[in-house]
Symmetry: C3
Amino acid sequence: MNLISIRDLDKKEIEKILDLSEEMAAGKIKRKYDKILATLFFEPSTRTRLSFQAAALRLGMSYLDFSPETSSLKKGETFTDTIKVISGYADVLVIRHPKEGTARLAGDAIEKPVINGGDGGNQHPTQTLIDLFTIRKTKGKISNLNVSLLGDLKHARTMQSLVYALAMFGAKITLISPKGLELDPTLIKEVEEKFDAKIKTKSELSFNDADVLYVCRIQEERFADPYEAKRIKEQFMLKSEHLKNTKKDLVILSPLPKINEISHEIDANNKAKYFEQAHYGVPVRMAIIDYLLGRQTRN
Amino acid sequence: MNLISIRDLDKKEIEKILDLSEEMAAGKIKRKYDKILATLFFEPSTRTRLSFQAAALRLGMSYLDFSPETSSLKKGETFTDTIKVISGYADVLVIRHPKEGTARLAGDAIEKPVINGGDGGNQHPTQTLIDLFTIRKTKGKISNLNVSLLGDLKHARTMQSLVYALAMFGAKITLISPKGLELDPTLIKEVEEKFDAKIKTKSELSFNDADVLYVCRIQEERFADPYEAKRIKEQFMLKSEHLKNTKKDLVILSPLPKINEISHEIDANNKAKYFEQAHYGVPVRMAIIDYLLGRQTRN
Amino acid sequence: MNLISIRDLDKKEIEKILDLSEEMAAGKIKRKYDKILATLFFEPSTRTRLSFQAAALRLGMSYLDFSPETSSLKKGETFTDTIKVISGYADVLVIRHPKEGTARLAGDAIEKPVINGGDGGNQHPTQTLIDLFTIRKTKGKISNLNVSLLGDLKHARTMQSLVYALAMFGAKITLISPKGLELDPTLIKEVEEKFDAKIKTKSELSFNDADVLYVCRIQEERFADPYEAKRIKEQFMLKSEHLKNTKKDLVILSPLPKINEISHEIDANNKAKYFEQAHYGVPVRMAIIDYLLGRQTRN
């Protein structure tokens, strides 16, 4: 079994992984897998690569680290050949690749479980599971929460999956993004119909009703005009003043890294939970590996 | 004890390593070494580096990974100094280096076992052991098999060792290579005399008698004229049409990576065993490490 | 507890770590920590990185390796954010950084123990502990030994800490360095007063009284004039002739790498103990990790 897109999982399966993550976080489950995880990152990554390796280690596994710089890809080998070869060395593969669809391609080419660690602007299902887990952990539930998503919702890798999953779990979603960087309207329509959800959009940075505020990166490269980029980034940067009338128990999340999306002084605000969220990467990824390996064995 | 060249081993020792590889592949032997393997790759490598690390992990060992990019070699340290220092951190060292003779040099400088992971165009003994193992595993034996070697037999790192070892085991060898890229005639003469072998050479890509077809890379850099390179590569590329009248149980091998040496549709042909061959890298390298560490302890 | 500077430790604590190192080197202590060490090297390093990883493995731990090349720092993330995130993946962090004060900054930002693996020209406390251990191991004691320090004592990362620690332990220090590359006189004065020590300086390369000769690198980049650099390096290079009238049991040490500071033929001289010193990196770093993790648990 592979984990390529959050859409590969139904609500029950997601809940099972979140429950398993909970037990992993609490140290209730001790696994001692005699298995190897291979991390194959064709793009830079701190969080996803290291937290998957940490998750493997915490499960008693070990890891192999493949990076394209020191590989035969330089000699012109195809991606599929590389994956096929490495599938003989490891028991689970995590793949990040700048090109959309590559994780699915890898999953189809080999028999070992493949986890998508992010493919282009497409999918990043393990991040979405971490996001859901952090919301559930900090707020006790997901359904009926007011969740505001702020930033570049068009290009942010995780936003499409997150909106899909939040709607599935009955959250009330509000979208706030610069002009031209809105979430794909086809997705909004699909999600509203499928889950009987109502997704709001607005333009001002006010979060008075919000239970959760999720802040995404705005990448300057997305703008033709650097002055416009700077102006928009400044305008959409989350500052302390925006938090004045927010709920006491508001939770601020971010997939990180943050560059100028969140003003530094907010780090010290106890509403900021993005470092905690990053740390949940380990138990959630432990749960994902355990879930896939467990299913592997049972099938 | 070191493994620098296939010539360091006699027939009995090779057979012992192949038998040990067989047991490793079958999972019959469980080792739990409390030891560290260091991989020192001064050249890019996917297969050799990762399969050695996987082999170490499967033996219960752990690994350290040295790469010249993040090292003091940049500051001007000599190769021997680097090796001497690292020999204090690990129990076995695998070294790949672009310069011939470097693995031998390292083996002489330190007391820990050194395994040659390929030194320039010179030696790559563990690849040869994997090749022999794969032939024996897929064909049941090596002696009296018709083995055809196709491609650049002059520069391919593993060909000199493989021809030597195949002749030692009584295989009937046929060489097919572009003009100017033939196997060193001194080696042919030596091997024929030493093992009472008869090595054939031909120029057409017909493999009707072959039990094993081993396909090597043809590197464009070896040609002065890029058009000539392209023409030769195209002419020596293995295509489905070349397999029409071959034996039903022909086995196609390659050290990989393959770029254009083997047409992609052959991957799906069940005569193609090169991915299986790549995967045997792990049990064979487990056997090699076990053999060296075992001998180490006994001495 | 962190280890940022040798000044964080008093004499008793240093002695405890040296005793612990002794037991680690003798294999008397077996630890089986179920913990993860993270190595974060923002500068190239062979010795420090690999020997810390080896130390972790020898303690039954595993390691995560962070390098800035494959990270989100490229996207503009702050150092502190990176450290905060990684602190959630590991149990101890070793940090090397070209900027002075970074290790202290990291130690203040997170709750997990931080070990300074060298910050700019500032501190490198674990190297100093290895130096002290090697002296005590090879000479039986530190106090009252004649220790000569040769080379660029101004920029060498470890010299300030080493002089401080040697004086603390009652060694008699002689400094020999090129003009302009002398040890900071403020430090000399401080150390002389604090430990009632007398530090000699001289200019000729004669070591007749020396029990220990510690040779530092002279980096050409420190000179404006490359001809001057070459002349000085040649003049301060340790050659066999300098060893003629030295004590029979003189011990020559170096933090390594050595480029042209020590003539190659000295490697074979049994007074040269710098490779042994490098190998002691493992037991001493095992002791340091064990000491920090032990204290962590007790507090």
